[in-house]
Symmetry: C2
Subunit: 994 residues, 2 copies
Amino acid sequence: SSSTEDTHSSKPSDNGSIFEPLDTFPRRHIGPSAKSAEQMLQALDPPANSLDEFVKQVLPADILSTTPLKVEGPIPATGSEHSSGGGYSESQLIMRLKEIASGNKVYKSYIGCGYAGTRVPETIKRNILENPAWYTSYTPYQPEISQGRLESLLNFQTMCSDLTGLEMSNASVLDESTAAAEAMTLSMNALPSTRQKRAKKVFFVSHLCHPQTIAVLESRAQGFGITIEVGDILAEKSKRVDEIGEDLIGVLAQYPDTLGGVADFRHLSDKIHKLQATFSVATDLLALTLLTPPGDFGADVAFGNAQRFGVPFGFGGPHAAFFSVSEKHRRKIPGRLIGLSKDRLGDPAARLALQTREQHIRREKATSNICTAQALLANMSAMYAVYHGPDGLKKIAEKVAKMTQVLARALEEVGCEVRQPVAFDTVVIKKHDAPTFAAKTAQMFHVNFRVVDDDHIGITLDETVGKKQIDEILKAFTTETVDIIKIAKEVSAVSSIPEALRRTSEYMTHPVFNSHHSETEIMRYMNHLQSKDLSLVHSMIPLGSCTMKLNAATEMAPISWPEFSAIHPFAPSDQTQGYAQLIDELEKDLAAITGFHAVSLQPNSGAQGEFTGLRAIRKYLEEQPGKKRDICLIPVSAHGTNPASAAMAGMRVVTIKCEASTGNLDMQDLKAKCEKHSEELGAIMITYPSTFGIFEPKVKEVCDLVHSHGGQVYMDGANMNAQIGLCSPGEIGADVCHLNLHKTFCIPHGGGGPGVGPIGVAEHLAPYLPGHPLVAGVGGSKAIAPVSGAPWGSASILPISWAYIKMMGARGLTHATKITLLNANYILSRLKPHYPILYTNDAGRCAHEFILDVRKFKDTCGVEAIDIAKRLQDYGFHAPTMSWPVANTLMIEPTESESKAELDRFCEALISIREEIQEVEEGRQPREGNVLKMAPHTVKDLISGEWGRSYGRERAAYPLPWLKEKKFWPSVTSCPPVQDTPDGLTGTEAPTPT
Amino acid sequence: SSSTEDTHSSKPSDNGSIFEPLDTFPRRHIGPSAKSAEQMLQALDPPANSLDEFVKQVLPADILSTTPLKVEGPIPATGSEHSSGGGYSESQLIMRLKEIASGNKVYKSYIGCGYAGTRVPETIKRNILENPAWYTSYTPYQPEISQGRLESLLNFQTMCSDLTGLEMSNASVLDESTAAAEAMTLSMNALPSTRQKRAKKVFFVSHLCHPQTIAVLESRAQGFGITIEVGDILAEKSKRVDEIGEDLIGVLAQYPDTLGGVADFRHLSDKIHKLQATFSVATDLLALTLLTPPGDFGADVAFGNAQRFGVPFGFGGPHAAFFSVSEKHRRKIPGRLIGLSKDRLGDPAARLALQTREQHIRREKATSNICTAQALLANMSAMYAVYHGPDGLKKIAEKVAKMTQVLARALEEVGCEVRQPVAFDTVVIKKHDAPTFAAKTAQMFHVNFRVVDDDHIGITLDETVGKKQIDEILKAFTTETVDIIKIAKEVSAVSSIPEALRRTSEYMTHPVFNSHHSETEIMRYMNHLQSKDLSLVHSMIPLGSCTMKLNAATEMAPISWPEFSAIHPFAPSDQTQGYAQLIDELEKDLAAITGFHAVSLQPNSGAQGEFTGLRAIRKYLEEQPGKKRDICLIPVSAHGTNPASAAMAGMRVVTIKCEASTGNLDMQDLKAKCEKHSEELGAIMITYPSTFGIFEPKVKEVCDLVHSHGGQVYMDGANMNAQIGLCSPGEIGADVCHLNLHKTFCIPHGGGGPGVGPIGVAEHLAPYLPGHPLVAGVGGSKAIAPVSGAPWGSASILPISWAYIKMMGARGLTHATKITLLNANYILSRLKPHYPILYTNDAGRCAHEFILDVRKFKDTCGVEAIDIAKRLQDYGFHAPTMSWPVANTLMIEPTESESKAELDRFCEALISIREEIQEVEEGRQPREGNVLKMAPHTVKDLISGEWGRSYGRERAAYPLPWLKEKKFWPSVTSCPPVQDTPDGLTGTEAPTPT
Ligand SMILES: Cc1ncc(COP(=O)(O)O)c(C=O)c1O
Ligand SMILES: Cc1ncc(COP(=O)(O)O)c(C=O)c1O
Ligand SMILES: O=C([O-])O
């Protein structure tokens, strides 16, 4: 087929085009060659004659786009016309992006507000951030092949617990501001149930919290009916706390506060606890090396941004936020938690704890929707701590603290009025017309200060600052030279920290933080952890709903450029024109791809996108005449984040059935519920293609029906990879859709994050896109409060998706979609003779993924999905998505990046496993202790002790011949789930895909 | 000790220094912490009280430097004085280097001459060039833990053989120019022996060879008494060949030639062969995808630069040159050759072929001294070919060829006189006052042309060129706009290649070149190969004489910067001021370190340094009165490259004995030989500390003695790591010394190269440092001919060594030396109760390495050094240097970068092996088939088939408990040497260390 040709070959398409670059990208991104694609079409069951014929068998005719996708592309060398749909070549892309990047000005930022300069150790940058073995791995659901990042995340947890003085820490949350929102929700949940039912619920927030945190709290409070009260939490012996009384759910302090002070909260803490409310503290890990930890003065929750531990500004993200709680709240901690288990051989093995509060189990009763988090950045920060060790961190903190004292003293010497106390890294100075002063300073001296308000300037120092920088800062205030060396001799590092708040307790005493301080040692440690983890550098990761496609090196390169990484999120806009351009182009392209009017890039994950989209819908509906529309219809098949997000947006969830035979939405049920709730119908949330991997034929009808009842259509875009260029949410009739840039648009999964979950919206919803309190020009004209601390969320990874779109071009993107469908159907066709397939459409086709139905084996021989998943590890593969959306099944998504050879290897593995199952079925192998039940096998398991099993060692290790050449070895054998439920039951092992 | 403190802690040393950066480097580079160092001093046998006391036990008092080392360092923040001996911090270093780099201007270079622009695929850059797992590995002497790079080098060989049409290719040589010299030497060796003895030996070189190649040939020809005749090799039916007749050793052609033409050499080739001489062809791999390969028209040797296969200009290097020969010359191919063997289990295993022509066996009878080559770059080029495949390469070649035709036609259209034929990528145009024209063009249009001579300009195109670039080129010649799109329609790609010279044969049909064309596939392939190789990311590599120290990420980062990588070696000097500054600083620092007057960075390896130093000595001596001084004294213990280099420099080698008991030079013998050869004494070559790892006490006496007989002292600086800051070759009395920057100064070994082998010389030798024919200002006033094609050899890796020196500072460098000595003596002390140590000094100390004497075990139980080496792999370690400088011993060098913990692991392994040996000695294990003789064990070996050995599987795999947590698995079991000697004997397995 001609479209195959075009994007697969680098053949010049016309005579003049010898001038076109040959380093075209689609043929590198897409796995199968044109020839393989032809063979695969033939091998389908039934075969297809061409890719285009095949596509028509997959998608309903009524949703196919009528005009080809358009995204801006390069102007061909041959003529003056605009892009013909091809993409930029890899080298062209880098050139174009360098040009865009030059629009960002890398000035020194002392803006603070929860973001500080840091030195990323070059070895950590090279060996983690720039290393596909770390960034292409998935959330560590399969502990046997994930011990490396599990250990590193455990280090992250230990570090956070040690520094905050709180028993439990999780493996990261999205950012400091959403962490605050999680603390608020936890506070609500921690109330006695009678108190939870009170009409009024007040979360009392210190006016000295970072402004963006307060703004994000606003956006999250509404859905829960919580009132955010901002005020002086200490004034008059915290009198206001008493006044709020039983309405109080919790108090939030910032420590050190946004203006750089510290206060003693012991008294307040007692007061809060007497009211059975929760005390949360937003804090700074580096400061905690010098300050009494929150756990020591009664905080129940402490959280903050770990960014200054070796993760660059990145114009706002991604960074790992941490979240720590006291023992008594251990079951309420949001997000993922790593725990220690033991494997079958009794060896220690880390694994994700299963948490019954999570949204995939509690659905609309969940109070957090966090799924994708910030694993890669948590790993970088943890490694930064491992490399520096407790002494190294303390030295850094002392240097920062002392320099800050010196700066404060110097400013006083030149006549500035400095706000007291100056506790750690921040100095606030009185300054008439602060905005003008800051603007001028930026222009003249290339340094950015914070404009606290019209009369105050803030300056936050960090480990990158030295004498030169302090001299530069002082230039903004005086033309005299100040002898800061002399001042430095006079001040002592901790002079301004009140005696009572100086840290005395030890931290990070674990050997891991005290062994790897030479570069050779840390390099080997990183490499050792890496060696335990399976990632895309090894083999296909066929996780349904996760879209584990190529994360190309050219896409990843720009995130290391200082023009993108060294920009503070609140830097003045004239310094961030490069970002502005890139964001504008990406929004435009994503709008074109989704068929929508506008896009917001602010949400830090898919789940955050859901919440944002629903909040926009609600705000829009509130402005429409009629009743309050707060019913949200959600099919049973939906991802757990959907109902959780709906609930968080204050909607009442009504479940819609699916047809047992086809998996499609039950139209009868839908109609009935639409009619029943017609006046209150707010929205429906659908995933398309469905979570069962099918392009439901009646999707347009669904949209029309909901619209006709006054509801809005929210589309979960996790499966967008099946749509691009062939159809679009906008054309189909949706009003909002979130995208997972970490699935469809090549941001690597990072072992469980980062992610970006932008939303596209139809014109009528555009005014409601989220804004930002500190940065103008973000969001719509009637913007909802922000959902992330930074105006464009995880801005520094947006170049990845931008680069992907630009290098693929409209033609490449569309072709990739076709191949993604072909790859899934090819596997389906190869496996069909061996396994039941749960759902296909009328033509016998799936979309970009499908469900392998292995349920019957439980009856025939006791084999379950998990056994197949574990056995696949012995074949060198990560398991498909297990038991979601259907319990005890496997959902397979190959993506377009896998070659036919790799698909064949995977099929051979599953076919071979089917034969192994048959042996059990036929009694040739026992029901217990067979090769599936004992999987996966580690080397140690195979060579230690007596054997005495019903199968041979070689069979366990090398069931197929190519495994002798290339084999990935799990580092532990299977290990039971870590119990963290009150009753010791763990429900299901099935994780929700992120 | 205070010096330990200083460089280990980041503690501010005075009150003002809170402003100093904390990211200091010495504590990251040096493995043991200050506390560990104290413990190690105590653990020595006998113990030492302080580091300084210890140092005095190691070095003879009379060589200790009297003043501390000085190298330029940062100016402290605290004051106006200059550096106090500390180094730049990592971040300071990067800032300073960015500043220096900005002195290089990245203009587009069309200078050609064997260097062409290329697109380094980003995934290869990231996953090989920037990946420590690839760049920190050693020459693959231990095949069981090196199959990855062995396979990749085999790919390199296959690619070269396929493209040149010659049966055998090696795994790279240093550059195209030295390859020409190797071809010349091979030609001499290939002559019938009577012909070899003729007084006159003429190597007839085409005047159309690259000028730098001709210059390097000159430098190499002298030592062999070969006459280089440059002329038109085809004129009048190659009449001149007949005239040279029996004096002819060989002919060298360039194809395509330096001016871009191609010619048919079939007739010439026949003529040469009739004279029993050799026909060598310098060629271009990319052109060979379109041209008849040299093998097809009778070439015996083909060589060239593989740089344009994905390795950047780098201001001249490093790049891999290739070298291919016909079957009949297979035993004469220089350098390393990878062959296929089978392991103990019968599985295919690649390994280095043992070549009896190598210098470590043939010593002064060797005619090539190549040791370190260009493995890392060969791997990059091979991977480039794997990624593009034969079709991809051909497309690139066709694009280049066609664009060149278009350019030629366009230039003609605007009135230029174009030299014919234009065969592939180069156009030569007549131009009055070419130098001025080129200079102006560079200034105005930022493009560099080649100045062929006063009246000709050369323009060489490459795969990075597109329409924009051609338009830019044309601007230099005309103000009109030329419609090159129209011209492109008229010309056909291969139009200018004569029918008879068009390639018809296939190439690169092996599956490896036809499978990995998607980025996912190539990433997995690179990762799969990597997973088979042990490198510094896994564990200590204790190879004596190799100095496997940390290659820090901050040192490595700059080599990816375009300011260093994208500069043509012959770019005008006003564009390379950054390089000039860096080179100047590095030369100064190396001069300070060695105690010499001047330094040349031109030699591409240690062996090249030897040759260069000896040539300088000879030139100097020639200008002295008296007899021809051509005797070179070399101790028996010398590295094989020493006598080989001496022979190549035309010197007669006289061997000096060593004392059996101490290993020191036999002073009696030395005196006797000095006296005997007094009138003809040219030089002595000594290694210091000696190759036995001892600071010989009488080194000054040796120098004085040789000087008193009129000879010069050449010091082999392979062991410089033991000297820095404590003593220096210059102070000791040497006249020349080469350094291995790839040992002492942190350039990674790259799996067998690249390297840099600069020489430092005393003032009287400075005038003879090598020059360059195309670049002014290189070398001394009476410069010898160049020894490398590029003026500063492998310039693009010089920032690594510069960064190392600058970050360590004088104090850090000196401290590193002390710790390197301590580390070696610590191991020695721990192992002494278990193994005999061959040599120590009077105080019982070794220098930075020592020899473990395992010879007695051969008698006691049949265990040899090789068995211990293989068994060490089971413990996760690379073997020490085996059987060199003493047969059947192990030489251990830890370097300063290894921590005490790692040294302890290594000692535990060797002690445990000693116990295993004892079991054999005591008959508890059999002499054959014991755990040592069967080592190393692969997983497959352990789990396949029946066991039935005298030891258990677990014992084989996990002899020490920590191996269960961290274990590196060999990918094949031991495999016999590849035979490539005529009689099938392989001599010894012992490789010479590079
Ligand atoms: C269908 C679906 N919706 C929503 C999400 C949530 O996305 P995120 O993990 O980015 O929050 C996922 C994650 O896998 C998903 O599969
Ligand atoms: C003592 C000694 N001299 C010379 C050399 C040759 O150096 P190169 O391999 O860089 O040519 C070596 C290499 O190991 C060596 O150990
Ligand atoms: O537990 C998960 O939701 O993945």
